[in-house]
Amino acid sequence: MQDIFREMAEIVRDPFDYGWKSKTLSGRKVVGYVCTYAPEEIILAAGAHPMRLFGTTGSIERADGHLQSYCCSLVRGVLEEGLKGGTDFLDGIVFPHTCDSIQRLSDLWRINVPQGFHVDAVLPVKLDTQSARQYMIDVLHRFKADLERELDCPITDENLSKAIRLMNEIRRLLRLIYELRSNQPGLMTGETLYTIVKATMIMDRIHCREILQELVEKMEAAKSSHTYAKRLLMAGGICNQPQIHDLIEAAGGAVVWDDFCTGSRYFETPIATDKDPISAIADRFLKRAVCPAKHAGLRNRAEDLIRIARERKAKGVIFLYLKFCDPHAFDYPYLKNALDQEGIPSLLLEVEDPLPAEGQLQTRFEAFLEML
């Protein structure tokens, strides 16, 4: 397992280096995307390699000339890399419509980053009506046509079905890995689990499926003697701070499931394989656990969270929010109250890249875990 972990950690450490290398080796075009509402299957069916962008690990300088300090570090970080050429290997980029900040990031990228093509997928915000479903299908058809034009490659239904099967398999394997680890949290650290999901969004998907399969087999055979007393659920937008897991684990806790778009929201809900592929992709977007920038009901997010906490026997929930992420911040009081009513304690951490001093977080985790 260690080899696989090392390979994935290397990819996550320097995704752009991986991007360059994989492009050179495979000759395939690379299409970047900024959120899990990007229809990866359509990119794959066009013979291209979808790669998610996660901001920057460096300091933000150039993006400060375009975005105010009250914009989240994810959006500023993505623009920073675009401006300084970190993402120059991309043949194009797709911006699915989600929050107000990503919406403007798309404009700023289009205006200021000359490299590659630029496509907007202006998905509906409302996901629970028939007309929204029809519009979602229409948007995906337009996206497919845009990609065919930009990549100069026809996208057949056969290739779409193949891409759907590939992504379904990856989603199934990720879910299985989560299950196995949830049963035996000692099998790998939270940081490793997080690295696996993140690497999946970056790396060649066919190779990824192979190593995830291998990982599952190894995990099924493995036994961990290490037990964590305090099982936790973590929820939020994107987790860009894997070190947090070390601190939680040092305090005696283990995150056994999550509601992140760099986590379960990415792999939950498979795509149906018995209908028109574009409609099937649309239906997954309508049914999957939502990002709070989208609307699929008034109480579904709290219900989902409580259900996951119960299913995974989590004793508490840690909300890990990116500072200036409005959709999540608006949902917090309602989610917290819903958890309170169920007797599930929670802790809110609002973070920005880079993280605050370790000692400060350590103390908060310890206090929280003690309370459970």
């Binding site: 107000d100 900040s101 404009d107 205006i111 509906p124 007309s131 229409d138 337009r142 109480r299 917090y332």
Partner: protein, 417 residues
């Protein structure tokens, strides 16, 4: 000062006072009394976003109430900080929109300048202005336990596509159905046509009012527009709004004829970008006026008539799909910059004043690029003010004062060249 001088100063001030203000206050008072007594009069109340499709509500005799207008009132009465702090105590982050924070906490304490808004029977959320309203209205739908209709207007980065038109158009029908269920009545199509016609007429009239500031001196300023805006937001689609703006337009035309400007000695003509800083409009207005600078136009108040070109009064329900989708905040940054450049030409503007508003990301993120594009294309300088529309804690008076002074100093030098 001699008595004569005092009188002269008074007359000079009176001369500049817009007479319609009194009427406007009356209309708004009536409107709020009507809204607050709706339940007693067996009328339904709908809360609706500022850019939301109000016309079907008017046609169905449902009273529209605007939490954003309420937010502006809270800001102007300097009650924003207290309510925002209450929301923060409820768990809402201090970085969230100050209208939303104020409204959310106000609903629980019935605070603010008018003791809270009347309880809604339904909520109508148009997301053409931001994603914040979606979250805000979800919160209120849970709090008041009333139905929520989301009017989802896809963002037009570079284009308005046919599938967007189809989607929004079908939502117009869903919206009407939603209202028919909520009221137990059918929409009177004839009445709807009339309201659509009045809405377009009101928007045209509002545009005409704003257009009077192409004159030099400008008979009114953006600060006046911030005030007079209330009707095109809240009473769009009524005869009251059309009549009021006709009266205001007549008064402005009269002032133009008499050469009366909003600022006594108009020397610099400026364009304001973003929402007003409600708790400091008077201070800012005086500050600029003292420098002989008049904010002759703004991107904010013109947003309620900016998509007129897509509206067809003879086919209102069909055309509103495009009209409501292609509003100023629902378009790409480059198109916004083009629109600002057009305004610079139209109003013959010497400089741009940009309010970087922490509360409003769709309006503010991208402003640096707009600033650059306008400077490049129009060769005019700009001033950036960091503040917030409702949360006074984000306003640093000394810093902003220094920046305004320096900006005017620069304009002075430029005009000498």
């Amino acid at each position: 000062m001699s008595e004569n001088t005092v009188d002269a100063v008074k007359t000079e001030k009176d001369k500049r006072k817009i007479k319609a203000v009194k009427k406007m206050k009356e209309i708004m008072t009536f409107y709020y009394i009507d809204a607050k007594t709706a339940a007693e009069n067996n009328k339904k109340v709908a809360w609706i976003t500022s850019g939301g499709p109000v016309e079907p509500l008017i046609a169905m005799d449902i009273i529209p109430v605007y939490p954003e207008n309420h937010g502006a009132m809270i800001g102007a009465s300097k009650m924003g900080v207290d309510l925002c702090e209450k929301a923060e105590a409820m768990g809402y982050a201090g970085d969230l929109c100050s209208y939303a924070r104020s409204d959310i906490s106000c609903a629980t304490v019935n605070g603010g300048p008018i003791g809270g808004l009347p309880k809604p029977d339904m909520l109508i959320c148009g997301n053409n202005i931001c994603g914040t309203v979606l979250k805000w209205y979800e919160i209120q739908a849970r709090y008041f336990n009333v139905p929520l209709f989301i009017f989802d207007t896809p963002f037009c980065h570079t284009a308005f596509y046919e599938e967007m038109r189809r989607y929004v158009r079908s939502q117009v029908d869903e919206y009407i159905e939603f209202l028919e269920i909520a009221t137990g009545r059918k929409l009177d199509r004839g009445r709807m046509e009339e309201v659509g016609r009045l809405s377009v007429a009101g928007q045209r009239m509002w545009q005409a009012v704003l257009d009077t500031t192409v004159n030099k001196p400008a008979p009114m300023s953006a600060f006046d527009a911030f005030f007079h805006l209330a009707l095109i937001v809240t009473l769009r689609g009524t005869q009251t709004a059309v009549d009021y703006y006709q009266e205001l337009l007549d008064e402005m035309n009269e002032r133009v004829k008499d050469g009366i400007g909003a600022v006594p000695k108009e020397r610099y003509r400026l364009l304001w970008d973003n929402l007003p800083i409600w708790y400091r409009t008077k201070w800012l207005s005086d500050k600029f006026a003292a420098h002989d600078a008049c904010l002759v136009a703004d991107t904010y108040t013109s947003a309620w008539c900016g998509s007129l070109r897509y509206m067809d009064e003879k086919d209102f329900l069909n055309s509103m799909a495009e009209g409501y989708t292609r509003i100023y905040l629902n378009i790409g940054v480059d198109e916004m910059a083009r629109s600002v450049c057009d305004m610079v030409d139209k109003y013959d503007v010497d400089g741009l004043v940009i309010h970087s508003n922490r509360s409003c990301k769709p309006y503010s993120l991208g402003q640096y690029d707009i600033q650059r594009l306008v400077e490049e294309n129009k060769g005019i300088p700009s001033l950036l003010i960091e503040a917030d529309m409702c949360d006074e804690r984000m306003f640093s008076e000394s810093q902003i004062e220094t920046r305004i002074d320096a900006f005017i100093e620069m304009l002075k030098h430029r005009s000498r060249r």
